[in-house]
Amino acid sequence: MSSTLTTNKTQDFVSNIAENKLSLWNELTAIRESGLKALSHLEFPTTRDEYWKYSRTTKITKNEYQFKPIPTPSINLSQVRIAGLDTYEIVMVNGFFNEELSSLPKNDVLEIKSFEECTTEELTSYFSKNLDTISNFFSALNTAYFSEGIMIIAKGVSDKPVHLIQYSEGDKVISQPRNLFVTQKNAELSIIKSSMNHNTFNFFYNSVNEFFIGENSHLHYYNLQNYNQGIQVISTNVATQEKNSTFSAYNYTLNGDWIRNNTNVFVKGEHCESNLYGAYQPKEKQHIDNHTIIDHIMPNCESNEHYKGTVTDKATGVFNGKVFVRKDAQKINAFQSNNNILLSNDATMNSKPELEIYADDVKCSHGSTSGQLDEEAVFYLQSRGLSKDSATALLIGAFLGEVVEKIRIPELKEKVLEMYGME
């Protein structure tokens, strides 16, 4: 395939989307144009690209998509609400903010507003400041054609978590939410993101969240991915941390046909803590891909990364975790591990933990395991009267439970345990 041909394909894909009228076109022309410019010389990623080696995007790129705002959707939010937990709620529908369904804070600590309400200065000081829009096709696509976005600014310790609910519906619809999450000095905030999709067919969800974790602030981001059929998901989260801050991203994938998560953390201050946890359990023909980067630029920091998954039937799991420790980043403790259980002979797991260390005084470890369920343990439990299914479920629960236990909000932990059928 010649590159001109591919480029034409990209152009078609992009110009089709570009016919849609999107908000903030004028206000953010410069920024959108940086994305457009990147797109003009980017091609669809193929499996020849190292970054996309195990994840084919042809299911996405073969389609023509439309944006589809639904001003008055009927959504039953009780499905995703967390029992016993009071939260602020932001509802986005097909990538567009729905203020009516949302319940926003009315206090000085937490400011939540749509991009429309942001000053140009607010937007330009954060938007795309984090992101590599030059080499990543889908991030560039979001930058050029994001549908709408929310900005959250935490100025202190938030009294409640924020629950961000992303609702998707429609046939050949593209949703490209773009959000900016800022925790200012000494602030603390938890954000829970839930997904809902209904009647989706060839739906393409391509979200980008940028996180700016200010000095001595702490942000915990919980991403619950529990999708029905008919949606392809690329979820990109990029964070920068300033000194003494904590950023934790928890990614729990329960269901989804095709999911690619990119979680990238740039640690730009000393004495930071970064935690990335994830659990996934692809089954049938599902494809779940987690790519992460932790970039230690400054000394005296700690990062913990633990992803665990079970792969069943003909499903595929992908894990790629890169940890960089830059030349000046001495005294770094960086731990990374990825453990997998393959529950069928046709299940595939591609796991690649990578460590690139340019400093000499560091403590780093990384490792990856892929194995079968412990048959001896299954037998032990069966010999006490448990059915094979219960024994297997208990053992899987024990296995994935380790990363679910990391959740710091008890009500949420309950909910996630329940979703995984653990309790």
């Binding site: 037998f379 032990y380 069966q382 010999s383 006490r384 009267g385 094979k388 208990l394 053992l395």
Partner: protein, 250 residues
């Protein structure tokens, strides 16, 4: 209760059990002794339904049923209990949680109601006291970080909770000091009644001072080569196994 006839079993094409015959009646205690590698653990695994072993010949009747037709969990629910020689650790699975599931699935299979939380806790309290197993251990993950003795006591505790008809204790005494041995034996003796039966597999006569067997069998090279009463155990203690090996190999 159980009647084993001409049982042959192999693993990876290698025959380990070469025609076992054994009859155990309700209310009885049988001891199986024998040198290392003679097939004692294999016999218990096969009876518990471990599918790694292939049964090539023979039959096992348990309470009128063809035991070999049943899965491991079905056998457990019918009343077979195996106290493992090497109880494994299962990180992430709590002792209490899995036992409760075990009891409830067993009850469900019998068409009984599931156990009430209060009843379960009372039972845990009583049965753990029986084997002097610290209740805090039960809240932990199965055998994780348990000492050798604690693991063995946990096996007997589980037996007490599950109230089996036939308990097979595979070298439950090995690695126990004399005090622990007394505790474990006391537990086993307390659970004994006229309707259940116990098979104790052991290396040492010592255990049989505390759990007194009605019959003693010697398993050697996959066969029961000698049976007798408790005096046989004493004789083995005194003379070792060489005279039996000679008899068999002659």
């Amino acid at each position: 209760m159980i009647s084993i006839k001409n049982l042959h079993a192999s693993i990876d094409g290698k025959e380990i059990l070469k025609g076992i015959n054994l009859e155990v009646k309700a209310g009885e205690v049988h001891a199986i002794m024998g040198p290392n590698g003679s097939g004692k653990s294999t016999l218990s695994s096969v009876l518990a339904g471990n599918e790694d072993y292939e049964i090539t010949e023979g039959s096992v009747d348990f309470l009128g049923e063809d035991l070999l037709e049943f899965s491991t969990e079905e056998r457990a629910r019918m009343g077979i209990f195996l106290a493992f020689q090497y109880p494994i650790e299962i990180p992430g699975v709590s002792n209490m949680n899995f036992l409760r599931t075990a009891i409830n699935e067993t009850r469900e299979s019998r068409g009984e109601e599931s156990i009430a939380a209060k009843e379960f806790l009372a039972m845990v309290k009583e049965k753990s006291a029986l084997v002097e197993l610290d209740q805090s251990l039960l809240k932990r993950y199965v055998n994780e970080g348990f000492s050798g003795g604690e693991k063995k006591r946990n096996e007997i505790f589980q037996m007490a909770m599950l109230e089996p008809k036939l308990a097979i204790l595979d070298e439950t005494d090995s690695g126990l000091d004399i005090d622990a041995l007394k505790i474990v034996s006391h537990g086993v003796n307390t659970l004994k009644n006229k309707d259940n039966a116990t098979v104790v597999i052991t290396h040492y006569q010592r255990l049989l001072d505390y759990i007194v067997p009605d019959f003693v069998h010697v398993l050697y090279k996959g066969k029961i080569v000698k049976s007798g009463t408790k005096e046989l155990a004493l004789e083995l203690e005194e003379k070792g196994y060489d005279w039996i090996k000679e008899e068999v190999n002659a």
